[in-house]
C-alpha cells in the first residue's frame, strides 16, 4: 500500500507520515469506511464514456493529480461517480441550476463543446495547458452565464465534489499531516505547537 501521496508536487512536508500507521487505534466501523477508499472502486455507473473522458481530465486539473498515467491516483472520478449513481447529493439545488447529476452531465458536455469550438477536438485530447485555459475561463466568467448555466455555480459544483472526494482519502491526509480518525483514542496534547507522538512535525514549513 502506498504510504505517501503518489501524485502532484507533494509529500515533502510530512515525508514519513502515514495516517494508516495508526489504523489499529481506530474503531472498526470507521476503519471499514476509510479502508473502502483504498480498495478497488466500483465500475463507473453514472458517467458515460464521453463524460468520463472529460471528467477524468477535469478532476486531474482541479486537484493537480498530474503525474504520469502509470502512477496511482486518488480515485476521484470513481468516488464522484459513486456519489452521483447513488444519488448521494446534498439534496438542494439552486433554482437556476438543474439537480446535481444533471448539472454534472450538462457542464461536462459544455466543456467538451468549448474544446471542439476552439480547438476542433474533444477536451480530453487537448494539452494540459489548453485544458487549463478552458477551465480557467469558466472560473473567470463568475457572475455570467456559460452554456446557459450560471458559471459560478458550475464552478462551485465542480470544486465541491472534487474536494470532498480527494480530501476524504488517506493519501491526501498524509500530505497535509492530518491523522484522520481519532476514536476511541482521541488527543491529549492540545495547544499551539504541541503534538502527539504520532503527529509528525511539518518538515518544510512554507507559507503558500
Amino acid at each position: 500500500m502506498a504510504r505517501t501521496v503518489p501524485s502532484g508536487d507533494s509529500g515533502h512536508r510530512f515525508p514519513d507520515f502515514d495516517a494508516l500507521d495508526q489504523a489499529r487505534a481506530w474503531d472498526p466501523v470507521t476503519s471499514a469506511v476509510v479502508f473502502d477508499r483504498l480498495a478497488l472502486q466500483p465500475d463507473l455507473r453514472f458517467f458515460g464514456p464521453a463524460e468520463e473522458a472529460v471528467a477524468s481530465a477535469l478532476f486531474d486539473l482541479l486537484l493537480a493529480q498530474e503525474g504520469p498515467p502509470e502512477q496511482p491516483r486518488v480515485p476521484v472520478l470513481q468516488m464522484v461517480d459513486s456519489r452521483l449513481a447513488e444519488g448521494q447529493t446534498d439534496g438542494w439545488h439552486y433554482q437556476d441550476m438543474p439537480e446535481d447529476g444533471e448539472a454534472w452531465r450538462r457542464s461536462l458536455h459544455a466543456l467538451d463543446q468549448d474544446a471542439r469550438e476552439r480547438h476542433g477536438t474533444c477536451f480530453a485530447e487537448l494539452t494540459a495547458d489548453r485544458q487549463r485555459a478552458l477551465v480557467q475561463r469558466v472560473q473567470d466568467l463568475s457572475g455570467e452565464r456559460w452554456h446557459d448555466l450560471p458559471a459560478d455555480r458550475v464552478w462551485s459544483l465542480w470544486t465541491r465534489y472534487a474536494c470532498t472526494a480527494f480530501y476524504a482519502h488517506p493519501w491526501a491526509w498524509n500530505e497535509i499531516g492530518f491523522p484522520g480518525p481519532a476514536y476511541p483514542r482521541g488527543y491529549l496534547r492540545l495547544g499551539v505547537g504541541v503534538r502527539e507522538r504520532w503527529e509528525h512535525p511539518d518538515r518544510a514549513p512554507e507559507a503558500p
Binding site: V33, G191, D202
Partner: protein, 560 residues
C-alpha cells in the same frame, strides 16, 4: 450569584441524577446505546388515540416527548430518519458522515440563496443536535425586544425573564461547560470550561492583544464523566456525531428518559400531513408514510417539530377546505420570516503549528459585539466563535477563495498552520425570506420546499463589520495571512410566535392561534435570531411550553 455556585457544587447527586436520568440510562459498558430500551419501548397502534403525536425527534421534539411522557401522557413521536446507534452508524470521519444530514430535495433561490443539506439540518433521532457543534449560549434579554429597543426585527410575545428558569434547567440537562458568562444576563455554567486546543488558544491570544473580552465555552459537552457519559476525548469530530457520548444530543440527553417513561419513537416515519376534523377546528392526528405504506396516527393533540424548512412545508402541504393556503395560514405567515445567521469565516496563517482539528471545534467566544452600538452604521450585531474546519471543509474554504490545482494543494498542505474564526451575524427577519412549495416533487410525491433568501443593507453591514473584527483578532495573534469566506449558519423562523394571530402563527406557549390543539415546537417559532446558536433557546422555549401545557391539564412537572 454565590448562592448559585454553591448550589451547583454542593447540590445533591440524587437531584442531578433525577434531572438527568437519561445519562444514567445509557449503558455502563463500552456500548453507547442500550438496545434494551428500544426493545422494551411501548408501541401504540394507529387506531389508538394517543394524547399527543409529535412530528420530528430533534432538539424541540425530543424535549417535548420527554416532558410529556414524564407527566404521564401517551406520546408517539414520528421521526423521518433512523434511530441512531453511535457505535455502528457513526464514524470518526468527515467524508463518511453524509447520512447524518437531511438531504431530501429542496430548491434554493433569492439574491443570496442559502445552501442547505449538511450546513443546516439533520435527520434521525436527535435531529440536528446529532451533528451540531454543541455551542450553547443563551439569547440576550435584548433579543426579545429588538423592535422596541432598536426599531428592527420583532418583539417576542414573552420576556427573557420568563425563559430564564428554562435556560438554567436545560443548561444543567445537557450539561453546559464554560467560564462565567459576562454578556447578556451574566450567569455561571454547571460544568467547568474545557481545555482549549490550538485554535482556541490563538483566538484568546488575539483577543487579549486587542483588549476584546473572550471566554471559553459555552459548550454542551460534559467535563468529566457524567452518569454513563464518558469524558470528551478531544478528537474534534463533534460535527460528525459524537461517538463518545460526551457531546449532548437529544438522542442521549432526553430520548432515553422519554422511552423509559413510555413514549414511543416511531422512526422511518415521514409525516405527510396534519389532519383535522372537517371544519378544521381541531387536529385529529397525522398521516405518514412508513415502509412504503400510508398510515394515520390518531391523536388528541399534534405538535410539529420538523425545523424551519420542513415544519412550514408540512403545514403548507396539509392545506384543506378550511385552510386552502395551508394549515394555520389565515394571515399568510406560515413559511415567512425564515432566518439564517451570516457566518463568515476567517482563517489566519501562523508560523507555529495550530492543528485546529484537535479539541471540539467550539471552544472560545466573544459576545462583545452582540448588541446595537449607536456608533456603528447598523443595528444589532454579531458574535465571534472559533470553528475548526476538518480537511474537506477547509478545502472548500480554500476553493471558495478561487484556488484550484497546484495552488489548492499547496494551501491544503499548510493545513496545520491555520486557525479559523467564525462569526454569527444577526440578519434581520424579512417577510420575503420564505419557504414556499415548489413545482418539483420528492420521492413520496410531495411538493418540495423552495427557500428564497435575500440580504438587506443592514445584513451586509453587519457581516462586513464581523469580518473586520475577525481579521483584526487573527492579525493581533500573529497571523501572516488572512482569508475570509462568506457563509451562513443555523436556520430559524418560518412559523414565528407572536402576540396575536396577525403577528404570529403560534403564541408564546407555542400553540397555533388557528387550531388550539396544534403546536409548533421547534426552531421555526423564533421571531428573531440574535447572534447566539439557537438550540438552547429552542429547547428552553419547548420546555416552557411543555410545562404550561402540563399545568393547564393538571399534571405536574415543575421547574427545579
Amino acid at each position: 450569584m454565590i448562592g448559585k455556585y454553591l448550589r451547583l457544587t454542593a447540590g445533591s447527586q440524587q437531584a442531578i441524577r433525577d434531572r438527568n436520568a437519561s445519562a444514567w440510562l445509557l449503558p455502563e459498558d463500552d456500548r453507547r446505546f442500550d438496545h434494551g430500551l428500544l426493545e422494551r419501548m411501548r408501541r401504540y397502534r394507529d387506531e389508538d388515540e394517543v394524547d399527543i403525536a409529535i412530528v420530528g425527534c430533534g432538539a424541540g421534539g425530543a424535549v417535548l416527548a420527554q416532558r410529556l411522557a414524564h407527566a404521564g401522557w401517551s406520546v408517539v413521536c414520528l421521526e423521518a430518519g433512523p434511530f441512531w446507534d453511535p457505535d455502528t452508524h457513526w464514524v470518526s470521519d468527515e467524508g463518511g458522515s453524509h447520512h447524518l444530514y437531511w438531504t431530501e430535495p429542496r430548491v434554493i433561490s433569492g439574491s443570496d440563496p442559502v445552501p442547505l443539506g449538511s450546513n443546516n439540518s439533520g435527520r434521525g433521532v436527535g435531529g440536528s443536535t446529532v451533528h451540531f457543534a454543541g455551542y450553547a449560549p443563551r439569547f440576550h434579554p435584548s433579543d426579545f425586544r429588538t423592535r422596541s429597543l432598536d426599531g428592527v426585527g420583532a418583539d417576542w410575545p414573552l420576556d427573557y425573564r420568563e425563559l430564564r428558569p428554562y435556560f438554567e434547567r436545560i443548561e444543567e440537562e445537557l450539561p453546559v461547560a464554560g467560564q462565567f458568562w459576562p454578556w447578556g444576563d451574566p450567569h455561571p455554567y454547571p460544568h467547568a470550561p474545557h481545555p482549549v486546543g490550538g485554535n482556541g488558544e490563538v483566538f484568546l491570544r488575539g483577543a487579549a492583544a486587542l483588549g476584546i473580552p473572550a471566554r471559553v465555552g459555552p459548550v454542551a459537552i460534559t467535563n468529566g464523566r457524567f452518569g454513563n457519559r464518558p469524558h470528551c476525548v478531544y478528537r474534534g469530530f463533534c460535527l460528525q456525531g459524537c461517538k463518545v457520548n460526551a457531546k449532548a444530543s437529544t438522542l442521549i440527553t432526553h430520548v432515553p428518559d422519554a422511552l423509559a417513561h413510555g413514549a414511543e419513537i416511531r422512526t422511518e416515519a415521514m409525516v405527510t400531513a396534519v389532519e383535522t376534523d372537517p371544519e378544521g377546528r381541531r387536529a385529529t392526528g397525522v398521516r405518514y408514510l412508513r415502509n412504503g405504506r400510508e398510515h394515520r396516527q390518531r391523536a388528541r393533540m399534534v405538535a410539529v417539530a420538523g425545523y424551519a424548512i420542513e415544519t412550514p412545508r408540512l403545514l403548507l402541504n396539509s392545506a384543506n377546505r378550511r385552510f386552502p393556503q395551508g394549515l394555520c395560514n389565515d394571515h399568510d405567515l406560515v413559511g415567512r420570516y425564515v432566518m439564517v445567521q451570516g457566518a463568515p469565516q476567517t482563517s489566519g496563517r501562523f508560523a507555529e503549528e495550530v492543528r485546529a482539528y484537535k479539541a471540539p471545534p467550539p471552544e472560545v467566544t466573544t459576545e462583545e459585539f452582540y448588541e446595537t452600538d449607536p456608533a456603528r452604521p447598523y443595528r444589532r450585531g454579531f458574535a465571534v466563535q472559533n470553528v475548526a474546519p476538518l480537511p474537506i471543509t477547509w478545502a472548500e474554504h480554500i476553493a471558495a477563495q478561487g484556488h484550484w490545482g497546484h495552488d489548492l494543494r499547496r494551501y491544503l498542505q499548510d493545513y496545520v498552520h491555520w486557525a479559523t474564526l467564525g462569526a454569527l451575524c444577526e440578519l434581520l427577519p424579512q417577510a420575503d425570506n420564505r419557504v414556499t412549495l415548489a413545482a418539483e416533487r420528492d420521492r413520496y410525491g410531495l411538493p418540495v420546499a423552495e427557500f428564497s433568501y435575500s440580504q438587506c443593507d443592514n445584513d451586509r453591514a453587519v457581516i462586513k463589520a464581523a469580518r473586520t473584527v475577525m481579521e483584526d483578532i487573527l492579525c493581533a495573534a500573529g497571523a501572516t495571512e488572512v482569508l475570509t469566506i462568506g457563509r451562513y449558519a443555523h436556520l430559524v423562523g418560518g412559523c414565528r410566535m407572536g402576540a396575536d394571530p396577525q403577528s404570529g402563527v403560534v403564541d408564546a406557549d407555542l400553540r397555533s392561534f388557528a387550531i388550539p390543539n396544534l403546536l409548533v415546537t421547534d426552531g421555526s417559532v423564533l421571531p428573531t435570531q440574535g447572534s447566539a446558536n439557537p438550540a438552547l433557546t429552542i429547547m428552553a422555549l419547548v420546555d416552557r411550553a411543555a410545562q404550561r401545557l402540563i399545568s393547564r391539564t393538571g399534571r405536574s412537572w415543575s421547574v427545579a
